[in-house]
C-alpha cells in the first residue's frame, strides 16, 4: 500500500509543484515545505528537486538566483506562460480523472 501511495504521489509531483508556484515564486526548500503542509502530499527533496530542475530545463520554470548573505545562493522558481497553460491543462485533466474515479468508487459509474 505504501508503494502505491508513493507511486501515486510521484505521478502528481509536477502538478503539486506548479500548484505551489501558482501562488508566486519560491525556492526549492520553500516548495518542499509548502507541500509538507498538505496532508498526503509530503513530497521530499529527492522527488521535488529533480522535477524542478527538469521543468526549468524544459523552459516551464524561470529561475532567478538571489545571493544569500551567508549561505548558498537561493534559486527562486517562477512559472512561465508555457507552464501557466500547462498547469491549466493538467488541472482540467486532474478534475476529469477525479470526477470519474469518484463516480466509479461511489458505484454509479459504468
Amino acid at each position: 500500500m505504501t508503494a502505491w501511495v508513493t507511486q501515486l504521489r510521484k505521478g502528481l509531483v509536477e502538478l503539486c509543484i506548479l500548484a505551489v508556484l501558482k501562488k508566486g515564486e519560491a525556492y526549492g526548500y520553500q516548495i518542499v515545505d509548502g507541500l509538507r503542509a498538505h496532508r498526503g502530499l509530503e513530497l521530499t527533496e529527492s522527488t521535488v528537486y529533480p522535477v524542478l530542475s527538469r521543468l526549468a530545463k524544459e523552459g516551464l520554470l524561470q529561475v532567478r538566483t538571489e545571493a544569500s548573505p551567508s549561505g548558498p545562493p537561493r534559486r527562486y522558481y517562477r512559472m512561465t506562460p508555457a507552464s501557466e497553460k500547462h498547469y491549466q491543462q493538467m488541472t482540467s485533466q486532474w478534475k476529469e480523472i477525479r470526477n470519474s474515479l469518484n463516480s466509479l468508487i461511489q458505484g454509479d459509474g459504468r
Binding site: 509536477e14 526548500y29 529533480p50 530542475s53 549561505g71 493538467m90
Partner: protein
Amino acid sequence: MNAAVIEVPPALRHLVDSRLDAIERALLQGDTPRAERRSILEDIETQIVEMLSAEAPDHEPTRADLLRVFTRLDPPEAFAGEPLESVRPMRTTRAPAPAAANAPPATQSGYATTGILACVGGLTMLLLGLPLCAFTMLFSQSQNLLVIAIGLVAVTGIPSLVLGILYAVAIHNSHGRPGGQLRGLTCAAIGIAALPISIVGLLGGYLVAVSESDFLIIGSFVMLCVLAVVGVIHLTYRSLELLVGAPRRPA
C-alpha cells in the same frame, strides 16, 4: 524559514560537502545531466543551511545539529532513483526510443493507417484483381481486359507489399512504445502476401490456359474461391474488431 540564515562553520563544512558529494554520485548513477545535478545540489545545500539555522537558532551549529539535519533528509541514494516521467498529456519530456520513433501513429484501436491500407490493397488485389486476371486468361480473349487486370494487380499489389512490410516493421518497433503497441499483424501479412499469391495464381492460370485441362481449371477456381473466402472472413473479422473494439485482454 526566512529567518536569518547562518553560515556553516568551517569545521562542519566538510560534512556538508561529503553529503553533497554522495548525492552527486547518486545523481550520476541516475544519469542526471551535469547542469541539472548542479541545480539540484544548490537547492539541497540551501535546504541544509536553512534547516541547520532552524536547528540552532541561538548558537553556532554543532556537529550533532548537522547530523540531526541529515537524519531528516532523504538519504543520498534516494537521488539515484529512476527519473520521474512527466505526467503531462500533451508533450513528452524525452525523445522516444530510436526504434519506436519510426512507428506510425496508432489509431484509437491500435491500428495505423499504413496497416489498414496494406490490408485493403492486398484484399482488393486478391478479391478483385486476381479473379479478374484469372477470368480473362481462362474465359476471355480480350487483350485489353487482360492488360487492365494485370495493371490492377500491379497497382494494388506493389503498394500493399511495401505498406505491409513497413507496417510489420512499425509493429515490431512499437513494442514498449508509450503510445501503445500497434496491432494488426494480419493486416501486414495480407499486404505482404497478396502480390506473391497473385503472381503464383497468375502463373497457375497461364499454365491452365495453355494446358486446357478441366481438372486444372476447376482446381484453380476452387483455390481462388478458398483464398477469397478466407480473405473476406478475415476482413470482416478485422472490420468488426475495428468497429466494436478488440476483446479485452487481462492487464
